[in-house]
Symmetry: C2
Subunit: 434 residues, 2 copies
């Protein structure tokens, strides 16, 4: 089974917008078959897709090599090339992640609320699939499989718009997944790619209101802001993490150093890594020399305010912080450091600069912890724990399709449940409104 | 306490956009005080607002008389004038509704999910207020109070943009509510109106992304579509109801007639009233003559397909239906009627024309009911009950701020819970990610 090429359709006089709307209509039709499929059917299809990807590993690696060659020729950084690269081992792990999703409970059919009203009407609010989920994302080809797997398990069709840097890899992966679905007796159109339509395809997807039920952008801040601004389809904003760790006056110094080091250096370039360290002035004299020395040893460039810089060890890579530093998600071995006179000042700094992803407090003071939790308005608030735990896998959701930084629908890591909506089912025996 | 007039601010060189952003900033600051207020404080303030509205009834009625005069001079219909009119009795009922909201459970603080992870991290997903809710609505001044009450109870500040037809009434109502909040020790800026800024104010509100957390339009289809199209703030789409009743082959005829009559005629002009009647061809010969006679007796104009028209009683007001009829939300004593060959054809008609609000099936057949419930993709699906039950009050939510016809965040009647979001609170004792 192959998709008709955009070129072929265009030759018949179609426009990109009309073609993408046709893709979305086919997705909607396919989604209806899946919405009423039971869990056994869905899990079997997910396992079949996993097996098919492993069986097609050579073909996928060959296509991926084209993307990598193109990337190298275009001057892509080593970090991005690594994210783009697929090996048989990585394909095996991507397939295992699909099998893990097959093992998760099915969110569809869960009765969220239910009661019998005084008039005898029986109410159930039941979890049902969204319908058609659009994903717009950047280079990583594993997202192609992850997104398709989570969408299928939650009963949705998915329309994928991946980055052009991974176009050859994604084309093969999507083709393999579609064939496996078809062989499983589910519609291949549950998984469709619009990569071949380029940027215009992405724009058309954002305009397909009524055909696409939700759009999830996943990538850098520019991509996400563009989608938020342009889309007529409801969007879930994900991922930008200007994350803070606040070390309170009463913090255990060793614990605080360990948490800051973990939050900044355990993995750089992820949205739940810390970008600014705030330190209560009473904690600074003991905590900051130890923390800044450890950070400097780990190669972290420190952007400090004057008070913080006064505690930096000799020879540390320290530069004066500006407001731009407080606003920056470095995604690198760099950290803003600021000494604050109070918990209130720390909360005010976070209110001013945070992207609402994750903030942590390190403290021994119950009142300070309670106020921080209550007054910091972020998707996740950590007490005496590293910010790196804001992750669907870590928080027990099983898998995640992204981390929402908006308040509508989903906030924080989004798993299967967040890809569903609900429906009220009301059963009577001739009930009319008096 | 009075609001600074837009004219005064403009004289200082401000623009509408900047001024509305200032309104939103003040709302955000005020919302922080409310987010951590306990239920007793909020309920006391709601009761104080209710008392203040009753005490100011004369002042409100006087202002309302100006709106009514302007409406009459402008040729406003009797129906709209009735919706606009306030009397001491109506103000008393609006105040009672506020007291009812005070009696509802507080959604804020509810632990939605929680567990302790294998590593000892303690997780809680806690319900918290959205922050700042924007309402854009049309003439009915009771919405001004309802929206403010539901927003306050759920811990949110509200920014109101009411219809110009109710401007004088709303100005007095908002002023009374602000004074009562101030006297209760809560910030008056929890309730602000931007009516004085006119259309430009509404546009500025739609662009206040990052300051306003959610925008809820409530009114006609044009208003809602404009907000959906223009807003950069996340929107919850409400209210348009192209609602269907399907009478299955096995329906009890008397039950079906009663449900159709109730769904169409019990109250006209509301979003949960029926607009199209679909009838299985096997039920038509017995059901339609009875139903169409009853509908015609009630003054309902029937827009029928040829098969349906063949069953109309002599002298009934019957016109041939067109595709436009299937698409129309009449909000009047008019009804589309179509005979279909099967349940599948009924579902297909609904998929094509429904706005996804509410649909009902009347049947004695379990399999038909189950398929209708599973395959009709609407916010509410009724089995042997009138569509008029899709209402926050009827469904036990206590009150509603609107009925969502989108799938993101809220679907169907929105009560207090739907005005909240959640926050992950993660507590450790020095946990770092290995």
């Amino acid at each position: 089974m192959t998709t008709v090429s955009p070129e072929a359709v265009r030759a018949q006089g179609g426009t990109t917008e009309a073609e993408v709307r046709d893709v979305a209509r086919r997705a909607k039709v396919a989604s209806r078959a899946l919405a009423t499929a039971n869990r056994m059917t869905k899990d079997a299809a997910l396992r079949a897709v996993a097996d098919a990807l492993v069986a097609a590993a050579d073909e996928i690696v060959t296509a991926n090599a084209q993307d990598l060659d193109r990337g190298r020729a275009g001057g892509m950084s080593d970090g991005l090339l690594d994210r783009l690269a697929l090996t048989p081992d990585r394909i095996g792990r991507i397939a295992d992640a699909l099998r893990d999703v097959a093992g998760l409970p099915d969110p569809v059919g869960e009765v969220v609320r239910g009661q019998t009203l005084p008039n005898g009407l029986r109410l159930r609010q039941v979890r049902v699939p969204m319908g058609v989920v659009g994903m717009i994302y950047e280079a990583r080809p594993n997202v192609t499989v992850d997104a398709a797997g989570l969408a299928l398990k939650s009963g949705n069709a998915v329309i994928l718009r991946g980055g052009s840097a991974a176009a050859a890899s994604n084309a093969v992966i999507v083709s393999v997944m579609r064939d496996a679905l078809d062989a499983s007796g589910l519609p291949a159109d549950l998984v469709q790619s619009i990569d071949a339509y380029g940027r215009a395809g992405g724009v058309a997807l954002m305009r397909a209101r009524g055909l696409v039920d939700v759009l999830i952008p996943r990538g850098g801040a520019d991509l996400i802001q563009t989608v938020v601004r342009e889309s007529l389809v409801p969007v879930i904003e994900t991922g930008v993490g200007n994350v803070h760790v606040y070390v309170d006056a009463t913090a255990d110094v060793a614990m605080a150093v360990a948490i800051v080091m973990n939050a900044k250096t355990q993995r750089v370039g992820v949205c739940n890594a810390a970008e600014t360290l705030l330190v209560h002035e009473d904690a600074a004299p003991e905590f900051l020399p130890a923390a800044l020395a450890a950070l400097a040893d780990a190669g972290v460039v420190l952007h400090g305010d004057p008070a913080a810089m006064s505690f930096a060890p000799a020879g540390a890579d320290v530069v004066p912080a500006t407001d731009e530093d407080w606003a920056t998600e470095y995604l690198a071995l760099e950290l803003g450091v600021r000494v604050v006179p109070s918990l209130d000042a720390a909360i005010e700094h976070i209110r001013t600069w945070s992207s609402g992803h994750t903030e942590a407090i390190v403290t021994r003071d119950i009142a300070a912890a309670d106020r921080f939790v209550a007054e910091v308005d972020s998707a996740a608030v950590m007490v005496n724990a590293s910010t790196r735990f804001t992750d669907g896998g870590e928080l027990g959701l099983g898998a995640e399709i992204g981390i929402s930084t908006q308040k509508l629908h989903a906030r924080g890591p989004m798993g299967l449940t967040e890809l569903t909506t609900t429906k009220w089912v009301v059963t009577g025996d001739g009930h009319i409104k008096p």
